[in-house]
């Protein structure tokens, strides 16, 4: 260790743990980039109504399986001026194979404008009533499929943007529920040990030894068929969290077990603090950073679980739009071959979000213990 690092470490003794964690976290470049990506994805989910050019269910039956359009910067010279334009399509229909072939129409240009009035009213963040879209064609009826369209002529880009709302929120809500179960059981087991620990350990073991996906599938299939989409959404979230708490609970238990023999915890006990107070005031606060790291790693797992369930048709159902629901359409390999963007665009959304969350969680885990060990 060089002298420079040593003085930095000496000074570290006077900093709060939050500052130290942040300082250590910043060293993990990939995690910092991921943090911004995650924030970006959640912002997209929050402002989906503005960002998506079309409402989620809006369809245009004239354009099934339309390929992605490229946006060009040009001046068509008809008085509309210099700006962003997309080409229209020329369709050819093969009577034999019943396939539609799209080519770009060089003569048909649609101007794309920013903050354009779309005619589709919505409430921004549930407050402000407006119909402005971040970017959309000036002519509301023009075909506009920057990432292609699906079998019903719905805009994939808009649907993926709306899908972020459900896919990303299911991860957050599900993990919050898991966290409540996991922390409670883990802290109980770690603190009281003995028979309580034994019972909780066995329950955890049962849940860990049943393969999760088949169990999720079975429980999801057992949900009543006549439930509305919103009820199903909450039921699936609860199911995911009912099974997802095990690793969190084990983590908390292990940490509590080591912490409870720490001097300051023993001191609090000798001081006559009640058990509840010792856990709440002395043990849980020093767990916070580890818990945040585990939670961040649990969110992508839950997003992937929802995607897999919905893909198999056992999770969320249309008209709800999640990334898994969108991927249902690529279940049939024939339609993927006709329209690869059905698979590529939603998959890219899933992979980017889960990858960023995984890197973020990894960085947080490394930074969670600013006092422990050498700087690696």
């Amino acid at each position: 260790m060089t002298t420079g690092q040593k003085t930095a470490n000496d000074r570290a003794g006077t900093r709060s743990s939050g500052v130290l964690i942040w300082r250590r976290f910043r060293r993990h470049k990939l995690a910092v980039v991921s943090l911004w990506i995650v924030i970006g994805v959640y912002l997209i989910a929050a402002f989906a109504d503005v960002i998506a050019p079309r409402p989620a269910g809006d369809y245009n039956a004239d354009y099934p399986y339309a390929p992605p359009q490229s946006i060009t910067m040009t001046d068509p010279g008809d008085g509309r001026g210099f700006g962003l334009y997309v080409h229209g399509y020329i369709q050819e229909f093969d009577e034999v194979s019943w396939n539609r072939y799209y080519t770009e129409n060089p003569d048909e240009l649609h101007k794309v404008e920013f903050f354009v009035e779309s005619g589709h009213d919505y409430r921004l963040l549930g407050l402000l009533e407006t119909d402005r879209k971040l970017f959309a064609p000036a002519d509301a009826d023009a075909p506009f499929f920057v990432m292609g369209s699906d079998a019903n002529g719905r805009d994939i880009f808009s649907r993926v943007v709306y899908g972020a709302q459900i896919s990303m929120s299911i991860g957050l809500i599900g993990v919050t529920l898991s966290l409540l179960i996991g922390i409670t059981l883990g802290a109980l087991a770690g603190f009281f040990r003995g028979p309580i620990d034994m019972v909780i350990q066995r329950i955890t073991e049962v849940f860990m030894s049943i393969p999760t996906l088949p169990l999720w599938m079975a429980l999801a299939a057992a949900l009543p068929r006549d439930w509305g989409p919103l009820t199903i959404y909450f039921a699936i979230t609860v199911l995911l969290s009912l099974i997802g708490w095990t690793s969190l609970s084990r983590e908390v238990r292990a940490r509590v077990l080591t912490l409870r023999s720490e001097d300051y915890v023993v001191a609090a006990r000798l001081d006559g603090a009640s058990r509840f107070r010792v856990v709440r005031r002395h043990i849980l606060p020093s767990l916070t950073s580890h818990i945040i790291a585990s939670v961040t790693l649990a969110v992508p797992a839950m997003i992937l679980a929802e995607t897999a369930l919905s893909f198999l048709g056992l999770g969320l159902q249309p008209p709800l739009v999640s990334w898994g629901v969108l991927l249902q359409e690529s279940q049939n390999i024939r339609s993927v071959i006709t329209a690869p963007w059905l698979l590529i665009v939603p998959s890219a959304a899933v992979v980017i979000s889960t990858l960023a969350l995984n890197f973020l969680g990894d960085g947080l885990r490394d930074a969670a213990d600013p006092y422990g060990g050498a700087v690696k």
């Binding site: 066995r202 329950i203 073991e205 049962v206 860990m208 030894s209 049943i210 393969p211 999760t212 996906l213 088949p214 169990l215 599938m217 079975a218 429980l219 299939a221 057992a222 009543p224 992508p300 992937l304 995607t307 897999a308 893909f311 198999l312 048709g313 056992l314 991927l327 690529s330 279940q331 390999i333 993927v336 071959i337 690869p340 698979l343 998959s347 899933v350 992979v351 889960t354 990858l355 995984n358 890197f359 990894d362």
Partner: protein, 334 residues
Amino acid sequence: MLTYMIRRMGWSLLTIWLISLVCFFIIQAPPGDFVSVLMANMEAEGRRLNAQQVEVLRERYALDQPWYAQYWAWVSGILTQGDFGYSFRYNRPAVEVIAEHLPFTLLLAGGALLLTWVIAFAIGIYTAVKRYSSGDYFFTFLGFIGLSVPNFVLALVFMYIAFRYFGMSVGGLFSPDFVEADWSLARVGDLTKNLIVPALIIATAGTAGLIRITRANLSDELTQPYVVAARARGQRENVLLMRYPVRAAMNPFISTVGYAIPSVISGEVIVSSVLSLPTTGPVLLGALRNQDMYLAGSFLLILGVLTVIGTVISDLVLAWADPRVRRQHSGAAQ
């Protein structure tokens, strides 16, 4: 060692009992009991059960009695006669359907587990020895990608590439020539060829975690004094690495393999459903979609029990490999 083994097995029996309760709950979950669903299904096909048959079936599954009696009727049927209930989708006893598909599941899951292990072991050692090299970053990144790409997306991409660029339609475990053929060396070769890609796809999800664990453990061992001592004795670096620190870092590796089994089974279910392999995955999915609950519940039970057995074996191997584990667990008894 013996006390540890007995205790470990006792606990796993308890776990299996709890799993069977969960499975029973799942069988009971859809509205309507087994016989009324069966009657409705048969009526849809224009057949009828006579009153006597209904009576016999209701008796067999103890449908007029409280749930614990029904549970007992189900479990005792499994234990005494191997009767897992009846699949009305296949019109056969559930156990026959399971027996047909389970070997392929075990083969595929076993292959995937082996691949996970080999890949994670090799890359784990490499990244620990060459920490912070560009190779380390590359493999760590690759591992994270494997963790973040859903298995079924990989399977779909694989199908797309095979169809688009090689004109092959993927699906099944045998090439057309071998589907009906008798077992021969060539057929085994064909099966292996068709198993590799699905196994690799399933393995991608589990490797990242194992690589991280191996890397962390081995890095801790590499700075230990005994490694320095061996190096000072003039032992060759490769021999030294394999002889001491890798062995010491293996322990957590063996124990995590136990928990890798459920994830491999989960991966198997979805990848097989996409690639339509004749394993338990698609059958379980079909059973759940059609509320063929005895078949679904039995699959779940068997997969759960197999996982528990796998975990027990990995724990016993760990206890055999590491005296510290044995002592820690029998410490209370001494």
